[in-house]
Every structure is written in structure tokens, then in C-alpha cells.
Symmetry: C2
Subunit: 150 residues, 2 copies
Amino acid sequence: MRRKDRAITEEEAAALLRRGEYGVLSTVSEDGNPYGVPVHYCLIGHDIYFHCAIQGRKIDHFEKNKLVSFCVVGDTELLPREFATRYESVIVAGEIEEVFDPRKQTVLERLVKKYSPEFFESGLKYIEKFKDKTRVFKITIQTLSGKARK
Amino acid sequence: MRRKDRAITEEEAAALLRRGEYGVLSTVSEDGNPYGVPVHYCLIGHDIYFHCAIQGRKIDHFEKNKLVSFCVVGDTELLPREFATRYESVIVAGEIEEVFDPRKQTVLERLVKKYSPEFFESGLKYIEKFKDKTRVFKITIQTLSGKARK
């Protein structure tokens, strides 16, 4: 990070990761080209988890290159008079791996708790119905850096 | 895109690009690793422009690999009862090049118009003061795909 004065602590970065609504997952294709796509996610311990369809471009990518970048932007506010923006963001470098039951079930339940906390019971039925049509991946965080203009 | 039923038209994707507040720019490092970072931007014609400091990690990356991915997420709304989200997003694959005056000046003015429309006159002075400390890049769009759950 160039502007050290805008770094946030690791704790602040982790807190932003915990409350972020979605992140942009950046992967690299087999021929070396970047691809960034938004995903919903949850944090369990220090790891990021997300689910997706059985097949897709990002899966093709990280089956060849397990290294990914994950960016979450928190609250932003334009400061027009100052030609600036109040923002906070966190950028993770990490490694992807697929997870399977019982971890897969735990992650899907955690996603229901994060995004649909008031519908947990029907969420369990939803998981049961669609679990075979989804895959779950874990990002093990290698580096975590946060930035904010407060 | 896997879910063809959620594709939006090129016009809708372009409209989202025009009104988006920021995008995540994904680049690839010299050793082939992905890096995604949020940037403010503007659209002029069919091209995306952004400015940044003179030096930085993303510049190191696209000095070696001009291909980038750029992702803008528009309005999102959680739909807890449906275990889903209403969202719209656009993903661009494009090629980066640096631009210089007079184009650089035009882009910086357009950024002021986008983010600080009520302070255009003082924005011109701000540009004059800081122009030498900033670089401006253009992303020529190669492919543009949008997705929405409405």
C-alpha cells in the first residue's frame, strides 16, 4: 500500500470483512488473464467461504491457479467539496480450496445465518434441496490489508 | 455467463457502468497472481477512465500485462425469505493504456463533473495543482457482460 497513513489495523480490516455484504473475487485464467466477479460470502474463524454453481468460469480458473484476490468495500461517502471519498476497503490475497461435508453444510448454514437470519428453519430445507447443485470454496487468507479515508 | 436468464442487455450494462460509483479493477502480477482494487472512474464514449497516483502495484501489473477485468456492482437488496439477492452487476474485459494531455485533462475534468458536479470551478484549480501527481489510464472495453436478478 502506497498511502501508509490510510492503512487500517488488521482488526479493523477483519471487522470490515465480517460485516461486508459481498466481495469481488479476482482470479486468473489459464492463459493469464484477470477476471473479477462479485460473490456473497461468510467468514468462519479467519477463513472466507462462498458458494457457487457446480460449474463456471471462476471454478475453471482456480482449478488451474489457486491464488485469488478478494476485495470488500464498506461504506463509502462522496466528499464533493474535497474532491475525495470517504471509504473503507480491504484486499485479501489468499488460496482457494473446495470444502465438502460436514464443512460444506456448516458453511451453507452460516450463509443462511448471515443473509437470512430470520428464516433459518426454512433455510435448512432450502440447503437440503439445493445442496447438490452448489459447491463451497474456502479462501485461506495469506495477506490482508485494509485502507480507509475517515 | 452460466445463467443466461439473468443476462442484461448491452445497453443496460452500459447504463450501469455510467452510473456506477466505483469499480473493482482486477490485474495480474508479473508472476501471474490476481489483484483486485477499487477505483473511481468515469465513462467517456465507450471507454472507461480512472486516475491514480504516479506509482503503485496496479501500475506495475498493467505495465507488464495490459489485460484487465473491471467489475461494477449496482444496487443490491437482500431477499432473506428467498435466500437470494436482487442485484445488478457488469463485468468488463479490457485493455489498459495510459493517456496524456489533452486527453488527461479532459478525463480529470470529467471525474470532477461526475463526483463533484457542484464544485467544477474549484475542481479545475484542484486539477491544476495536483495533475503532475496523478496518472490517467483508459480501459478499452473488449467484452461487456451484465447480470441481474430483478
